[in-house]
Symmetry: C2
Subunit: 155 residues, 2 copies
DNA sequence: CTGTATCCTAGTTGATACTG
DNA sequence: CAGTATCAACTAGGATACAG
């Protein structure tokens, strides 16, 4: 078991230890519109028009990003029909999409704390009312501060 | 106190409730190279050549992104001098940069689980050895699953 | 309402060469 | 080693018009 955190031995590029999931994630989801659509989807938005209006992007951008997110498995098209209308699709979060939300909330928290902004929004635990943040935690239930985090090479 | 999570009442665009920190964060850090440079900085990389070689980008891209990250306050230039050389700068994580890492590790974890990859790396708690993940937790120490997360409107 | 098509601009990135 | 300069390719995204 090798621990990478801290000063590195001799290692060149990520290629030496395999492809980097961070890079792959950014390739699939590394756009502002994708992040904001995920935020909206979590808020409960499902309809095309609501996405582009609430996110504040063009319909073209929304269509492109929604298709990307469906293809990547974060959103799912689900047909619905308003009375007297043709069948249309709405976009709902999948499990994979829900599991992506820590990325979004981590960005929310960092931006809220470190960038000039006056957002009145706060993350909170509905059940107990306390404010919430995004943190690294271990399987034993400890919070893992940056100095205690290890990136282990397995196998 | 209003809770936004779940179906929304009548709300248009984020502008109605202030600027979105997620969007601002993406504006500053929404590039693949910035994320990967942050990863490298956390690993302990500090020198210009190590950044572009290990991240696998051009020197031009590395220079641009390193400057951005310094300006945004995530990295800090610190002068050093090798014997017989002129003074140069190395780039070290600031507190704001360290606090950004949950974003990076959340992406790592999501990509590792949901995208095809064979990375042998795992996050772990150095102190107890258990594997680690990125989660939403509240001030009372509870893990906050997606259904229990609220986004509250304060003031 | 739910898109698609087109034009246009700005930013990211790679490749390559050059400087101190 | 630590950059800067240039060029070209690609992508994101706004504006606008059009279609089912």
């Amino acid at each position: 078991m090798t621990v990478l955190q801290g000063r590195l031995a001799n290692r060149d590029a990520w290629s030496a230890i395999g492809e980097c999931p961070i890079e792959k994630t950014m390739t699939v989801l590394g756009t502002k519109s994708a992040m904001l659509i995920m935020r909206e989807a979590y808020y409960g938005t499902t309809r095309f028009e609501d996405f582009w209006r609430r996110v504040g992007i063009t319909k073209a951008a929304a269509a492109a990003r929604l298709s990307d997110l469906v293809e990547a498995g974060l959103l799912e098209r689900r047909p619905y029909r308003e009375p007297g209308q043709r069948s249309r699709d709405e976009y709902v979060l999948t499990d994979a999409g829900t599991e992506f939300m820590p990325v979004v909330w981590a960005m929310f928290e960092w931006g809220r704390r470190h960038l000039p902004n006056r957002t009145p929004l706060r993350l909170a635990h509905r059940d107990c009312g306390a404010e919430a943040t995004v943190e690294v935690v271990c399987a034993d239930g400890h919070r893992v501060p940056p100095e205690e985090l290890a990136v282990r090479l397995t196998r």
